[in-house]
């Protein structure tokens, strides 16, 4: 392990009263002593002093003075000034509160007020004016603004150019993670296993006793897959090793699961016919025997039918009841990655770039026009249909997509979140991301656009987190994790230190890091490539205390008994009416209804038959599905069983914490759902403590171990400083994030910057810049 950054002196724990400091603008000499905190392998590329970080759009009153630094990992602003108006800050151990990782940079804009010029900076570019202002648009929706009125014009310009250059690397090996991990290997050359922090991630969130620090399975090994087969009770499926050493496909994992009836030899011969040689991959098994499988298209037209038949037969054979296979072509029914990206750009434009007041009047229709929520809904709806096939029809489902590594990741994971309560725990969710995204070859490098080749960018992973959030919002007691966890997970895709979200495939990691190791003289020994830190090792980013915010106090774990009217029961969701899952049904069904307005179709008898007419074959499938959803919604949901999304317009909501957390105008001070979260956390903590005391009393009443009482899985503690008073002062709807200094739109002279950045223009301009290289 490497040492973590010591706390910055300006950091104030919420436990302590804010340090009253008289330091202000006058204490400029101090700035010269400000030093950046660097990670191993991190070097300062350029820096400039006497920089002002803008805090508010309309006044410079709160601006902070400090030094702006560009390193090979981050943009860092170092100041002695305390953050104004801010009472609490959730701290990332890798980053200071003003820092932006280079991979989080979306766009860099330099401005010269006097010459009324502005320029979007690409790499290796010239800047013909001295910037008076630098605006950094971040991928995590922040907008950070610096002014250079008092700084040396040349150094300011150099820093801007350095930031532009280093945030837009042309090669994967230029990403900081390589430098970092290389340094780690050098530093620990005498250790056997290089960086110990890999191996992936204890589910390292829980500090408390209740939560086990389970290890997240990474699915890099044969045994992880084998365990998953056993966990789901799949029979007729086996782990296949033909891709060891990536001999068959460079975009498949080394181990994956296939129908037992298919021999390695068959698979090898079939593999050539699949796009990317991506054979069918088993994802999950229902206890009724039906399996979820994902598969690329068969490009070989002549062989198509034969191979398809063989595969389907094999999947059928793996089903205990020999049930049929249901194939779902995702590309025909879902938005494509470009459409999703376009929606995301619009959403972001609307949420943070556009002036707040101007967008108020048409907010709802503008939100609709982004189509983001429509897409979230589409994925939830299709996933729910797959759930129906697996759960109710007992059919195995094959998700088909060109390469099977984009939409398939999303649908496969959503289906499993809905069907399997294990994936609603923290460890389970993380293993799901390993299984269906990282190992299945989701192209994080391209989709996150770490190398700024914009045409491949698409926020599918965020869309997955958003869809998961919708489920969490609808079934708050069904998930072990909180929305803070989901938000932080999204942010983590923007830190180029973890290997998890850095590559297009596991093979790419091995290949690139082996090359890098050779060039840096790092001895790899038996290892396949360098071992990068895993994002699942949350202790790298957050203290144990801060990690407790990942825990959802509403969660009802399996072990958690509930008392109602004095008797202990297991928790069940109460009766809940049927939601409009069917509203998005295929149009064939809608048309099947005679006259679709207020009056239902007239029948010969007012007493309707429940069973669909067996002759009406076209509609029977859909009405069966309708019936399934209706019945499901009419019963109390078992939170440890299947959960299905409500899909009406009123149910699919905007994920405010993620998209509004930096927007000062949208912040509800001392309000938001966090206040109820806080209140419940106190109670959960108290119940936990009581339950521990009870256990101790039972086991060894004489030596009640009080040490254990200090542990808690809750961030807000019953015995903490807030328990007696009401809502703590630092809570707001943005908690644990703070808009202060993180979203500083520019009220610009002449053309509003928002116009300049609007919509697709971002992408055109970035491309134009790229062409100038």
């Amino acid at each position: 392990m490497f040492s973590l950054k010591p706390p910055r002196p300006s950091f104030r724990s919420y436990l302590l009263p804010p340090a009253q400091t008289d330091d202000n603008i006058n204490s400029q000499p101090k700035i010269k002593k400000l030093e950046p905190v660097l990670l191993p392998g991190e070097i300062v590329v350029n820096e400039v002093n006497f920089v002002r970080k803008c805090i508010a759009t309309d006044t410079s009153q709160y601006d902070l003075w400090g030094k702006l630094i560009c390193s090979n990992f981050k943009i860092s602003f170092i100041t002695d000034d305390p953050m104004p108006l801010q009472k609490f800050h959730y701290r990332n151990l890798l980053l200071g509160e003003h820092d932006v990782p280079l991979t989080c940079v979306e766009q860099i804009v330099t401005v010269n007020d006097h010459k009324r010029k502005q320029k979007v900076l690409g790499p290796n570019q010239k800047l013909k004016f001295n910037p008076t202002e630098l605006i950094i648009y971040c991928k995590d929706f922040r907008i950070v603004r610096f002014r250079f009125d008092e700084s040396g014009p040349e150094s300011a310009k150099k820093v801007c150019l350095a930031i532009a250059h280093y945030s837009q690397p042309t090669d994967l090996q230029l990403l900081f993670a390589f430098e970092y991990v290389g340094k780690k290997y050098h530093n620990s050359a005498n250790k056997i296993n290089g960086v110990s922090s890999e191996g992936g991630g204890r589910g390292g969130i829980g500090a408390g006793s209740g939560t086990t620090s389970q290890k997240t399975p990474l699915f890099e090994t044969y045994s992880d897959w084998d365990r998953e087969i056993k966990r789901t009770g799949a029979s007729g499926w086996r782990v296949c090793s033909i891709n060891e050493g990536y001999m068959i496909s460079t975009c498949l994992p080394e181990y994956f699961v296939v129908p037992s009836s298919l021999a390695d030899q068959d698979l090898k011969s079939f593999s050539h016919s699949f796009v990317g040689r991506r054979m069918p991959l088993w994802c999950w098994n229902h206890s009724n025997g039906s399996a979820l499988v994902r598969m690329a298209l068969i490009k070989d037209v002549l062989q198509q039918r034969r191979i398809d038949q063989r595969i389907c037969n094999a999947i059928t054979k793996s089903h205990p009841q020999r049930n049929d296979v249901y194939k779902l072509d995702l590309e025909k029914t879902l938005p494509n990655i470009q459409e999703i990206q376009a929606a995301f750009v619009k959403l972001k434009q609307l949420c943070v770039n556009e002036p707040f007041e101007e967008t108020e009047e048409k907010w709802l229709s503008s939100l609709e026009n982004t189509r983001w929520l429509e897409y979230v809904r589409a994925f939830l709806k299709h996933s729910a249909e797959v759930v129906y096939m697996l759960e109710s029809k007992h059919l195995s489902v094959v998700l088909q997509e060109e390469e099977g590594r984009d939409l398939s990741c999303l649908v496969a994971s959503l289906v499993q979140v809905m069907l399997d309560a294990y994936f609603r725990t923290i460890t389970g969710f993380q293993s799901l991301i390993q299984k269906e995204w990282v190992m299945a070859g989701y192209q994080f490098l391209d989709r996150c656009n770490h190398l700024k080749k914009s045409e491949k960018e698409s926020p599918l992973f965020l869309l997955f987190l958003d869809a998961t959030w919708q489920l969490l919002e609808q079934y708050p007691a069904a998930f072990e994790f909180s929305e803070t966890y989901l938000t932080v997970l999204y942010d983590s895709t923007r830190i180029s230190l973890f290997g998890t979200f850095l590559f297009n495939s596991p093979h790419q990691r091995v290949k690139q890091s082996t090359e890098f190791a050779i060039s840096k003289n790092i001895q790899l020994g038996d290892e396949k490539g360098l071992k990068f830190p895993s994002v699942w090792d949350w202790s790298l980013q957050f203290t144990a205390k801060d990690r407790t915010l990942f825990h959802n106090p509403f969660y009802v774990g399996k072990s958690m008994p509930c008392v109602q009217n004095g008797s202990v029961k297991s928790f069940k969701r109460t009766k809940k009416s049927y939601s409009s899952t069917l509203r998005g049904m295929p149009s064939s069904l809608k048309n099947g209804v005679i006259g679709d307005q207020e009056l239902p179709p007239r029948r010969n008898s007012p007493i309707l038959k429940h069973k669909p007419d067996p002759l009406q074959h076209t509609d029977s499938h859909n009405s069966d599905m309708e019936q399934y959803f209706r019945e499901w919604f009419s019963k109390p949901a078992d939170l440890h069983g299947v959960i299905l999304p409500c899909l009406s317009g009123a149910h699919i909501k905007l994920w405010k914490l993620c998209y509004f957390r930096w927007v000062p105008e949208a912040q509800i001070h001392l309000g938001g759902s966090i206040t109820a979260f806080h209140k419940l956390s106190l109670l959960v903590d108290e119940v936990d403590t009581l339950s521990r005391m009870l256990r101790q009393q039972r086991s060894s009443p004489l030596e009640a171990c009080y040490a254990e009482l200090d542990q808690s899985r809750m961030y807000f503690r019953a015995q903490g400083p807030h328990s007696t008073s009401g809502t703590p002062e630092f809570l707001s709807s943005s908690f644990p994030f703070s808009p202060v200094g993180n979203l500083c739109r520019r009220s610009i002279l002449g053309t509003p910057l928002s116009k300049f950045l609007s919509g697709a223009k971002i992408w055109i301009s970035t491309e134009t810049l790229a062409n100038e290289d």
Binding site: E361, L367, F554, C562, N565, K575, I594, E686, S733
Partner: protein, 599 residues
């Protein structure tokens, strides 16, 4: 509708529920009786087909009493029950004629005030609907038939008396009134100064009753500026009144000008009195034509007037109609957000909240006292003062505090509930009807969404208030003003809604409530946070209705029970252990000092 052809067996609504019943359906009619309140009498019953917009036609028997319409399904596979107070009915229409063709084309179509319609089909033979139509019309619109409203027949008894909840003298005393700047006047004891104001008024100490009479001449319907709320520390106040009678000629009234100055002078440090005219400025100007208007700069040197751009009752009524169009019976699906936007309902909510925030901010910051008016000062004015008071004074966020707020700012100050709701009145198209109070409750709900721990009451409380706003079961919302209620002896002859609520408080409590004193709540009045109140406006749709009870609330209640259980078991264990070891017992509360403290 995607699924009109199939039927749902289970859907549960507040007043309408379908129970799965394992009992033999054949005997049900005879064995089960219609629920009846004391004083409620059955008038008629009839076999009908209820045309449920969600489940299709359902054969049932309808029972009509002098209070409700009750329908029970006669079908074995569904046990639908409709239970609708007649007060909710806004309009009854006959559909189809004796010769109409087609299934279920002959019957009644009932429009309700609570966002739904009911449709019944009857047999065409022998004018079968006539009796039902006449009974319903008679008892849903008793005013037109010289019948009493059901509230006067209701003989329910509760162990608490809701009529005693609000006592103006006590409430003003709670606010620290009278003090040496403000006095309570009984000038309106017999409603002679202003017949739509309460008997008791708080006015500047230095204004004599004679002054008040002279001011009354210059204010629309004599609704003079009186105190609604005073800040406990900085002593700035919220005043309410109606518009000044300026007229086309720009009349002035020295007494009114002087009176406003007296209000300002109760805070020595303040140089200007802030006047919020709730209307859009265009409307305020237009009101001059009918003798009204607003305070001009030249006449009122020491006042600063701003308009809050809130539209009138007609605009609000039309807006709510549009909301109904997109939610009932089918929820607009493909363009939900833009349809919602086109109703402008949330935009109106936003303007009302924004106005109230401005009032609250002025007063809370001590910058200035505030005078609020619109035209008559009983619609928008009531919304603004009561919402601002809710933001400023945590007392009003408790259940009883909220009842007092409604009783004071709405009921006693003459919000015309009778006209706005049209209790027992058949004239459904009356231009006086408007959902102003509903809009206020919606604003309160929006606040409770943004501050989930700040209110003692839950959503059920707000919905119960709205349900009984129409039901005519209680006297609380009947008539237009205090003088009329006094003439009708409403408190003596009817039951108060608060009697029912306060004798069953647990049902209406928000488990997350954290009592806080002196915390001003500023909601964010932004479209980004305002939501359509789905659990109210779309509650009849079984597919939309959200989880009841709220799973989060339920989880909290379960944990509370678990905690109590643990504490009990721990105490038992400790007792047992200490008895065994004859050690001095330690109670869990001693070990965990916080256990008993914060709940």
């Amino acid at each position: 509708m995607a699924s009109a052809s199939t039927k749902y067996n289970s859907h549960s609504l507040e007043n309408e529920s379908i129970k799965r019943t394992s009992r033999d359906g054949l005997n049900r009619d005879l064995s089960e009786t219609v629920p009846r309140l004391p004083g409620e009498t059955l008038i008629t019953d009839k076999e009908v087909i209820y045309i449920c917009p969600f489940n299709g036609p359902i054969k049932g028997r309808v029972y009509i009493t002098n209070y409700r319409l009750y329908l029970r399904s006669l079908e074995t596979d569904s046990a639908l029950i409709l239970d609708v107070p007649l007060g909710v009915i806004s309009r009854i229409e006959k559909m189809g004629g004796a010769t109409s063709r087609g299934e279920n084309s002959y019957g009644l179509d009932i429009t309700c005030k609570d966002m739904r319609n009911l449709r019944f089909a009857l047999k065409q033979e022998g004018h079968s609907r006539r009796d039902m139509f006449e009974t319903l019309t008679r008892h849903a619109f008793p005013l037109a038939h010289s019948l009493p409203l059901f509230a006067f027949l209701n003989e329910e008894k509760f162990h608490v008396d809701g009529w005693t909840v609000y006592n103006p003298v006590e409430e003003y005393r709670r606010q620290g009134l009278p003090n040496h700047h403000w006095r309570i006047t009984f000038i309106n004891k017999c409603y002679e100064l202003c017949d739509t104001y309460p008997a008791l008024l708080v006015v500047p100490y230095r204004a004599s009753d004679e002054d008040l009479r002279r001011v009354a001449i210059f204010r629309s319907r004599n609704r003079i500026p009186v105190l609604s709320w005073i800040h406990p520390e900085n002593k700035t106040v919220i005043m309410r009144c109606s518009q000044p009678l300026v007229g086309m000629s720009g009349k002035r009234n020295k007494d009114d000008e002087k009176y406003l100055d007296l209000i300002r002078e109760t805070n020595r440090q303040i140089s200007k009195l802030t006047i919020y005219d709730a209307r859009p400025s265009v409307n305020a100007v237009a009101n001059k034509a009918t003798g009204g208007g607003y305070e001009s700069d030249d006449a009122y040197h020491n006042a600063e007037l701003s308009f809050l751009d809130i539209h009138n009752i007609h605009v609000m009524r039309e807006s709510l109609k549009k909301v109904k169009d997109i939610v009932y019976p089918n929820v607009e699906e493909s363009h939900w957000l833009s349809s919602l936007e086109s109703t402008h309902w949330l935009e109106h909510i936003k303007l009302v909240l924004t106005g109230a925030i401005q009032v609250a901010d002025k007063v809370s910051s001590g910058k200035s006292s505030v005078l609020v008016h619109c035209s008559d000062g009983w619609d928008r004015t009531a919304q603004l003062t009561s919402l601002a008071m809710l933001m400023l004074d945590s007392f009003y966020r408790s259940i009883e505090g909220f009842e007092i707020l409604v009783q004071k700012e709405w009921i006693s100050f003459g919000h015309k509930f009778g006209s706005r709701i049209g209790h027992g009145d058949k004239n459904h198209a009356d231009a006086d009807r408007s959902p102003i109070f509903l809009q206020f409750i919606d604003c309160v709900w929006q606040m409770s969404k943004q501050f989930p721990t700040a209110f003692e009451f839950n959503e059920r409380f707000l919905i119960a208030i709205l349900d009984h706003l129409y039901s005519c079961r209680f006297g609380t919302f009947l008539f237009n003003c205090e003088s009329a209620r006094e003439r009708q002896k409403v408190p003596e002859r009817t039951v108060s809604l608060w009697s029912m609520i306060n004798s069953n408080k647990d049902k209406f409590k928000n488990p997350f409530y954290t009592k806080e004193i002196n915390r001003v709540l500023y909601p964010v009045a932004s479209m980004r946070h305002l939501e359509l109140w789905v659990n109210y406006y779309i509650r009849w749709n079984p597919r939309i209705k959200q989880q009841q009870p709220n799973p989060v609330e339920q989880r909290y209640m379960e944990l509370l029970a678990l905690r109590d259980d643990y504490i009990k078991r721990l105490e038992e264990l400790q007792l047992a252990n200490s008895a065994k070891l004859s050690d001095p017992p330690t109670s869990p509360s001693q070990m965990m000092p916080h256990v008993q403290t914060h709940f």
